[in-house]
């Protein structure tokens, strides 16, 4: 053997061995670098994504408001016999009151055109807003002058937040020089402010970007996800138990197994088609409803849950099943008392990740008609809804510039919910595992 060192008679003192060791070390450090840079790349991409969405979205959580100096002591709002305060507010002409208030600050508009330009400073919802606020604080009626804050028009908001450029030729912006001057005037008078956008969380879809909110979308998403939960978890876990613990190892079962694995890889939009055919065409459940959405997402999540639960069940050591059998447990008792408790952390983790995925799904919902403009918060499973991802999609296709920040802000909320769900998965896993 030529490899043996002639002087020492050892394999390990030859030059060739040293060279080979050196090459091995080099290869190892190269691999370390490659995999390390992979992680750096992934983390960077994630940070860039989060950063850009946060940058686009932060102003969505802010609302620019105009303060209207108003006086509610005029006759029609004062308590009258046979008329409730609510009815008085109902009948009051707030449009005129708002117009008066603006005139008080900015002076009398000379013509119709100027009046319209001035109205655009405020949200079209301003008059309704004033009525709503007055109902909430009826003591304004006797107080004389109060400053009522109402949302500014969407373009005003964009300019004030710095989202729309100011220093460009008038033809390139949506607000005229005169309107910009008014904004400055309001600012000078202290009647323009930027506040936290509570409307974003308490209101629903609207044509006016300055007052849209995600409440209906979040409620819709939550109800839909609960439906998915209620259907997919029992079915998925039961199927996994059957396949792992009871099913005979036959050709047929191999086929079933293969199909479940393939089902998990079916594009979600195809699942939407299946949902359309199954739940709307065949079962005639209400179109666009939360029920159909939840069932369709359950179809999609089911294979994921089955696969995760099967892996968790298969990971329970056989010695534990044997121990329970040796003590005289029936097959059912082995499953319920030994297998399931030990598989639970894995089942939960897989399930929650499947649900987080379902939460972000849009395509299948488009197929079942959950893509309409729905300003009402859903109250039941048969109500139509536009869940959060669909709402995001709808806003992203709206032309107004102000919808862009709302889109990004809604994405941030969706991401926050997902992070919470995943954190819950990790927490439950640790919690259930740490006990022993």
């Amino acid at each position: 053997m030529s490899e043996i060192d002639q002087t020492t008679g050892s394999l390990y003192t030859t030059q060739r061995f040293d060279r080979r060791m050196a090459r091995r070390r080099r290869r190892q450090s190269r691999l370390k670098w490659i995999s390390g840079s992979g992680i750096v790349l992934a983390v960077t991409a994630l940070l860039v994504l989060l950063g850009s969405i946060a940058w686009l979205g932060w102003s969505g959580f802010q609302q620019v408001q105009v303060g209207l100096p108003m006086d509610f002591s005029s006759g029609e709002l004062q308590p009258q016999e046979g008329k409730s305060p609510a009815a008085a507010v109902e009948d009051a002409n707030f449009r005129a009151l708002v117009s008066d208030a603006v005139t008080r600050v900015l002076g009398d508009p000379q013509d119709r055109q100027a009046e319209r330009a001035r109205d655009a400073l405020l949200s079209t919802s301003a008059a309704r807003e004033v009525g709503r606020k007055l109902l909430a604080s009826p003591d304004w009626l006797g107080r004389g002058r109060v400053v009522v804050w109402v949302p500014a028009g969407d373009e005003v908001g964009q300019i004030v937040k710095g989202r729309a450029p100011r220093d460009v030729p008038a033809s390139d912006r949506l607000l005229s020089d005169r309107q910009l001057a008014w904004i400055d005037r309001l600012q000078a008078e202290g009647l323009l402010r930027t506040a936290f956008n509570w409307d974003f969380f308490t209101r629903t879809a609207s044509r006016e970007p300055e007052i849209v909110g995600i409440k209906a979308a979040v409620v819709g998403s939550v109800l839909m996800l609960l439906t998915t939960f209620a259907v997919a978890i029992p079915l998925g876990v039961a199927a996994a138990i059957y396949l792992e613990e009871f099913a005979p190892k036959t050709r047929l079962m191999e086929l079933v197994d293969l199909n479940i694995r393939n089902l998990a890889a079916v594009p979600s939009i195809v699942m939407g088609l299946l949902g359309l055919a199954l739940f709307i065409r065949f079962a005639e459940l209400p179109r666009s409803s939360i029920l159909v959405g939840g069932l369709t997402l359950a179809l999609m999540t089911l294979p994921i849950i089955i696969i995760a639960a099967r892996a968790a069940i298969a990971a329970v050591p056989d010695s534990l099943r044997t121990a329970a059998l040796q003590l005289g447990a029936s097959k059912m008792q082995v499953t319920a008392r030994v297998v399931l408790p030990n598989a639970m952390p894995g089942i939960l983790t897989g399930t929650i990740i499947g649900l987080a995925q379902a939460l972000g799904e849009t395509a299948p919902l488009l197929m079942i008609g959950m893509v309409a403009f729905i300003p009402d918060t859903p109250a039941g499973l048969s109500d139509p809804a536009a869940p959060l991802p669909v709402q995001i999609y709808l806003w992203s296709t709206s032309p107004e510039r102000a919808f862009m920040e709302k889109t990004a802000a809604a994405i941030l909320v969706l991401l926050a919910i997902m992070v919470c769900l995943n954190a819950l998965a990790v927490f439950l896993r640790n919690r259930l595992q740490k006990r022993w």
Binding site: K249, G328, A329
Partner: protein, 263 residues
């Protein structure tokens, strides 16, 4: 002590008797027409080289071959006169009456208390919590584990040392008040000191239970067993008083095994 003549009374019925049992794994025959008797309150050792079918024969005694895919058992195994392989017999009941301890300790990842209480709970052997606690304590006392764990009954069974875990498994088996306890090389995963404790325990338990213990260790058989069966290639070659088997083996195969010609 082994070899010491313990009066089984020739008239007493056997606790268990195995008659012409064959075990197949698919085509392969692992046990060939085995005949064996287990007397009341004795320790019977099954001894033989590795792979000769000791574990398989042992599993016939509590129907633990049933869950093995492809396993087939024929013949009769009588527990106090009744065939445990008869058509209407529930294997779960057989296993409750014939306890078993595995080669490697396999406590549940539950508390020590819940480990012992597992059997009584699934069989409903107790009226109230106090009675369950008593069963747990007695079972732990019986294996000498009580003093070591009485202050940490809520800790995980898996947190104990190997020897303690094996005693926990024995306690768990006897919490069912079995007629027989089967042990498959219960000390093979343990260090010598823990093994010695288990061997001592086997002798003590023999005062109340029948014990069938599998071992490939001749010294162990001599230390713990009243009678010893020698198995070779799936056949029960020879059964007898332990002293007789070791001092005056009748069969050539037994002599060769004891002489260390194979193991």
């Amino acid at each position: 002590m082994p070899g010491e003549s313990k009066d089984h009374g020739s008239g007493t019925a056997e606790k268990m008797s195995v008659r012409g049992v064959d075990v197949f794994f698919h085509e392969f025959q692992a046990v060939k027409s085995a005949d064996l008797k287990v007397h009341p309150r004795e320790v019977l050792a099954l001894m033989g080289p590795s792979g000769c079918g000791k574990s398989t024969l042992l599993r016939c005694l509590n129907r633990m071959n049933d869950p093995i895919p492809g396993a087939r058992v024929t013949g009769e195994v009588l527990l106090e006169g009744d065939d445990i392989y008869a058509p209407r017999v529930d294997p779960a009941k057989v296993r409750a009456r014939v306890g078993m301890v595995s080669q490697a300790p396999n406590p549940f990842p539950k508390s020590i208390f819940d480990n012992i209480a597992f059997g009584p709970r699934i069989h409903g052997f107790y009226k109230d919590r106090a009675e369950l606690a008593r069963i747990v304590e007695e079972s732990l006392q019986r294996t000498g584990l009580w003093d070591e764990v009485k202050d940490k009954l809520n800790q995980a069974g898996t947190s104990l040392s190997g020897g303690q875990q094996q005693r926990l498994c024995i306690s768990r088996a006897i919490a069912n008040r079995p007629d027989l306890v089967l042990m498959d090389e219960p000390t093979s995963a343990l260090d010598p000191k823990a093994s010695a404790t288990i061997e001592e325990l086997v002798r003590e338990l023999a005062e109340d239970f029948c014990i069938v213990i599998v071992t490939h260790n001749m010294e162990q058989a001599q230390r713990v067993a009243d009678r010893t069966a020698f198995l070779y290639l799936g056949e029960v070659v020879e059964v007898g008083e332990t002293r007789q088997i070791f001092e005056a083996p009748q069969h050539g195969r037994t002599k060769e095994f004891l002489g260390g010609q194979f193991s």
